[in-house]
Symmetry: C2
Subunit: 397 residues, 2 copies
């Protein structure tokens, strides 16, 4: 018999998508499902981006430059300047989504058997890219008790081995919403300098900070050669389907190496680059509106959750996710039950069990991630469902 | 000092793109450069595809299904049926270009250290995806003397080791234009059955056959579980910048494994899927026009090349490439000279040296690949340049 690869066997299925068949079955029965399980915002993509695509008068849909259109990269430097990141266009490689930026960073900087330390819970797909690259993910646990703050330096140091090559961070964080402080970013800088590591920084949610500002890894002084920024337009402009991101670094050897991987796949998508370049003409206050919308949703969600008996939800400082601890033994079982067995006024809610966001087996069993990507009205309805569900689930049988 | 990965160091730079800086310098001097070096057709993308994107009234550019929109996959089965390939929509995973289909196939079926046999010369980027997957490419040499026909079975058998897991083919071939016959495809079937191998079949150029028809690997009976089709719309509809392809197989384990890699990168680009779905409404005679255009270009190119002293160019049966042997010692040096030192009526031509398409060092030194992606007039002007250049280059010094 032909076999699939070992790496294919250990490749994890998406924890966010594994409940999809149960959601589909619920919908077929006529139940409304509120999707708080996935970071697909309902915010409209800026009309200006869609119009730019509509009005592009290209005759031949050609390959672009492997690093992305030069006009787009030049204009992107202005965007980065506006968030305090000083780069030139040659330090930007446009990628097919943030996903490809992560994959290229891993491929260019890490070899099979190398280790990356990642504070857990973390974006589950890091596991997938690590498997693709043959890299071992070593988790450092952050806890709901501290609101998922950066673990102390000592916790990182304990995990460092001769094969440790990088730390991966995401701030504001998916899935916790935690926003690293200036002090925490300085701690990370100390570690990467002392142990000569790369710092891969996933900043997909840069614009969505509700308490203070994001400190970018690119703001850190003296570690310019260590920092690889993985970026995306997916959340920034609610343009997840465009599949456009960027890898940004000042490390010339990394840039040259990533370019070889970029050339092998020829180019990032052309339509998406047209839309993304147009987005750079959005008015300066564009993010204020979306940020305020998300802030209102966050406040509502956190308030509703903490008002439920036995539920604990720290207030996230950024992104559009919250992690909550529920009064259940096994959130995987509960989330499936919500879709399979429960409905309230013919509605139910889909959540992401947190276990898939932890690298350490057994952690996060009672936690779920909620993406506040629905409008206020729907969040309220979803919270009504959850509140009722917890009562039903926990009533004495 | 921080180091890039070993795999990044061995990753080859694109042999097609490495002369780009010399072409850019020539253009800056005011020289017209005819690009026969890269498979970027000048054929217009069907207006119907671009209009579909223009007229899509989406408000939120959302992630699609990780396997691609179901409506697109369902419609694609009709296209495949029209070329004699009987699949259902669940056997199709839509990818970001044919590139991603190749990468996913390698990742899902092969482990680091495994070997794939590929008839050389071959599409150079297979090397890149092999490096990404840690896989060793083992070339089997085909020769310009036989017009790059499939090497005999014995040549394959000689290369098989306990680590051999797959054969990669591309018919019609890039870079040679060779179209495998029914008999040659049957030979391949025997080998993969006997040695229990995967057959990865890159069929990017299916529609462009000038002598008979393409035999798809999916047409072979009794090896359904061995065949993984890697497909793309890039060349078919002159839509290289869309970045849309597909991996197609009847092997359920491979499909399930590829899906895990597909989920990790979330989804293929949305705009491209809209364009590609619209393309399936093109009239049945659409390919006749483009095929005839390419046939005329091929005939002209091959005639002009063989009329030059010391040049040998077999007539390719498909795709839009020809390999020619030139009366020069080192085609890499000659191709660079064409851009750096030569011009004729203020024009020159850019070719792809063939050495980058061979896995065996030292082969193809006197060969070049020419992509007949320019119109008849420009091909004539490019051939005028090449004819003149060879005279100048070879005149006694």
């Amino acid at each position: 018999m032909l076999k699939v690869s070992q790496r294919g066997q250990v490749m994890p299925a998406s924890p966010i998508r594994k409940l999809v068949p149960f959601a589909e079955a619920a919908k077929k029965k006529g139940t409304t499902v509120y999707h708080l399980n996935i970071g697909q915002p309902d915010i409209e993509t800026p009309a200006l981006m869609l119009e730019a695509v509509r009005e592009s008068h290209l005759k031949v849909l050609e390959y672009s430059h492997s690093a992305g259109n030069e006009s787009y990269r030049r204009k992107l430097t202005g965007y980065y300047k506006s968030v305090g990141i000083d780069v030139n266009y040659n330090q930007i490689i446009v990628t097919t989504g943030g996903s490809e930026a992560i994959l290229f960073g891993f491929m260019a900087c890490l070899d099979a058997g190398d280790e990356v330390i990642i504070p857990e819970p973390f974006y589950a797909n890091y596991n997938g890219f690590a498997v693709a690259a043959g890299v071992k993910v070593v988790p450092v646990t952050s806890s709901i008790d501290t609101g998922f703050a950066l673990p102390p330096i000592s916790a990182f140091v304990e995990k460092i081995t001769p094969r440790t090559r990088a730390i991966v961070i995401c701030s504001p964080n998916n899935p916790t919403g935690y926003l690293y402080s200036e002090a925490e970013m300085q701690q990370l800088k100390e570690i990467i300098l002392q142990y000569n590591l790369y710092l891969f920084s996933d900043e997909a949610y840069r614009e969505f900070c509700y308490e203070g500002h994001q400190v970018s890894a690119m703001h850190l002084k003296g570690v310019e050669n260590h920092v690889v920024l993985m970026d995306t337009i997916s959340k920034r402009y609610s343009a997840c389907g465009a599949r456009l991101g960027a890898l940004v670094t000042k490390n010339v050897a990394v840039l040259e190496t990533v370019m070889k991987f970029a050339q092998a796949r020829l180019s990032p998508p052309s339509f998406a680059q047209i839309a993304a370049e147009a987005a750079l003409d959005l008015p300066a206050d564009y993010f204020n509106h979306t940020r305020e919308e998300y802030r209102e949703r966050r406040n509502l969600l956190v308030r509703r959750l903490n008002a439920m008996e036995g539920v604990v939800c720290p207030t996230p400082g950024g992104a559009f996710y919250a992690m909550a601890q529920l009064p259940v033994d096994d959130a995987d079982v509960f989330c499936q039950w919500l879709l399979e067995k429960f409905s309230y006024n013919n509605q139910t809610v889909m959540l992401a069990p947190a276990s898939g966001f932890y690298g350490t087996p057994g952690l996060g069993k009672r936690e779920v991630r909620l993406a506040y990507v629905l409008n206020i009205n729907n969040i309220n309805l979803a919270m009504d469902c959850l509140e009722q569900a917890l009562k039903v689930y926990n009533q004495p049988k």
